[in-house]
Amino acid sequence: MAHFAKPDAGSWTEHYPELGTAPVSYEDSISPEHYELERKAIFARTWLNVGRVEQIPRTGSYFTREIHAAGTSVVVVRGRDGEIHAFHNICRHRGNKLVWNDYPGEETKGTCRQFTCKYHGWRYSTEGELTFVQQESEFFDLDKEDYGLAAVQVETWEGFIFVNLNPDNTTSVHDYLGELGAGLAGYPFDEMTQVYKYRANVGSNWKLFIDAFAEFYHAPVLHAKQATAEESRKLSGVGFEALAYALDGPHGMVSSWGGMSPPKDLNMVKPIEQVLHSGLFGPWDRPDIEGIDTLPPALNPARHKAWGVDSFVLFPNFMLLVWAPGWYLTYHYWPTSYNSHVFEGTLYFVPPKNATERLRQELTAVTFKEYALQDGNTLEATQTMLESRAVTEFPLNDQEILLRHLHKTARDYVAEYQTTTPVRISAVS
């Protein structure tokens, strides 16, 4: 039985006819060749979220971000001009990685007046100019002006910092994020500065973990053992239906109900949740800030009373979840090969005013981890079996529309790249 209205086309999927309704191939998630194309067609050319402005609050604050899929590392820094700059993390002298600590492959962060190369001591300002060359007179006609750091396009949207590794890119991040992005403008992300960040190495294609977070069809089943027994039976009897879906260019979102925050009946939740008044959906009491009761248009688009959380899939590898009780969560999926990626989940709350609020947030953060461990554990098994190619086409239901859209988008980017990039004639014909 349908609990929530669907579009006139009869289903969410048919509302977007370009998606089709046929079973879907997962070859895009198991082919090393396809992944190599995705690296060039997607990760080297689209806006990638690398962090938040709060991470670099002061002049000289910086962090590095390894972007394996695009084959580079970038350093993001707040310059003396107050602006955010991003550079390829490479010294112009002989190519040493410029900013790192102990382990060149690990990300780092800090505050500095300038960047000094560990190899021969060349120095760069926070705006990227080469300011000092060791034994400069030994060089031949070296003009320091010509050897500034290689800049990377960087822009912010609602306090999120994005880089684009394509020097020829002409689309602003604002335009790239389209109507969904515009519809989120004004949400008080900047007030939510209490951060919990998790990271995991996952043995699956990056898109498979997005799949796991872009549908809730699995939730009453895979996560059945998280709830009290009675509640769990009820949930799997009802199944999952979204309040709404929206697709916009390469991006998409799902709007979900969430009756547990607070629950209708205290007996629906665990004793620790009864005492702390918190759970997976967040602390039941909303923080005392502006902007979470009057929502921007992209949030709770159905304007439903039972709204619980909206999940935005911002192509390619960034998800943003805004929860009704006034906090948000981000997911990032950083591919390291066709069948592995680094997953990051970060929770953002309004800073707690007392120990009770702090413990409520702790309960939400710990609960998130337990769910994510279950989500993550299925992925390696899925990857292995997909790679068997024993079965090659998979039916996706209407509640899996965002997966259908994600894989189609990724395939479309690759196809577009292939048609616009001249193929090199191979030596052997």
Partner: protein, 108 residues
């Protein structure tokens, strides 16, 4: 020297649950038996509301050491509540060898 504020003396046997980081608390949970988790829960859970009342009367960012240790114990109670209240096993069911590391967590 007592670990916790005087009102919470009966929690002293569980002082080894007073751990500053999520990774320590999680590791302790995974290396505990269900009997140990149950004993900790049975002692600490009934005092959770009292602990909140005690801690809320203080400034969160200027807690005395004994209060900080009590707060850490409460974090461990949150972590241990999952196996005791629902799963009957230290590890979340169906999670195999999956792991997730906490990279950033609040200072207090």
């Amino acid at each position: 020297m007592p670990t916790f504020p005087a009102d919470f003396a009966e929690l002293e046997p569980f002082a080894d649950w007073s751990l500053a980081t999520e990774s320590e608390r999680y590791a302790k949970r995974l290396s505990s038996t269900m009997d140990e988790l149950q004993a900790f829960y049975d002692a600490a859970f009934p005092r959770l509301a009292d602990a909140l009342a005690h801690l809320d009367a203080l400034e969160l960012d200027a807690l005395p050491d004994d209060a900080t240790r009590l707060l850490w114990l409460c974090y461990s109670l949150v972590n241990a509540s999952f196996p005791v209240e629902v799963w009957r096993q230290p590890r979340v069911p169906d999670s195999g060898a999956a792991s997730m590391d906490m990279l950033i967590e609040p200072a207090v």
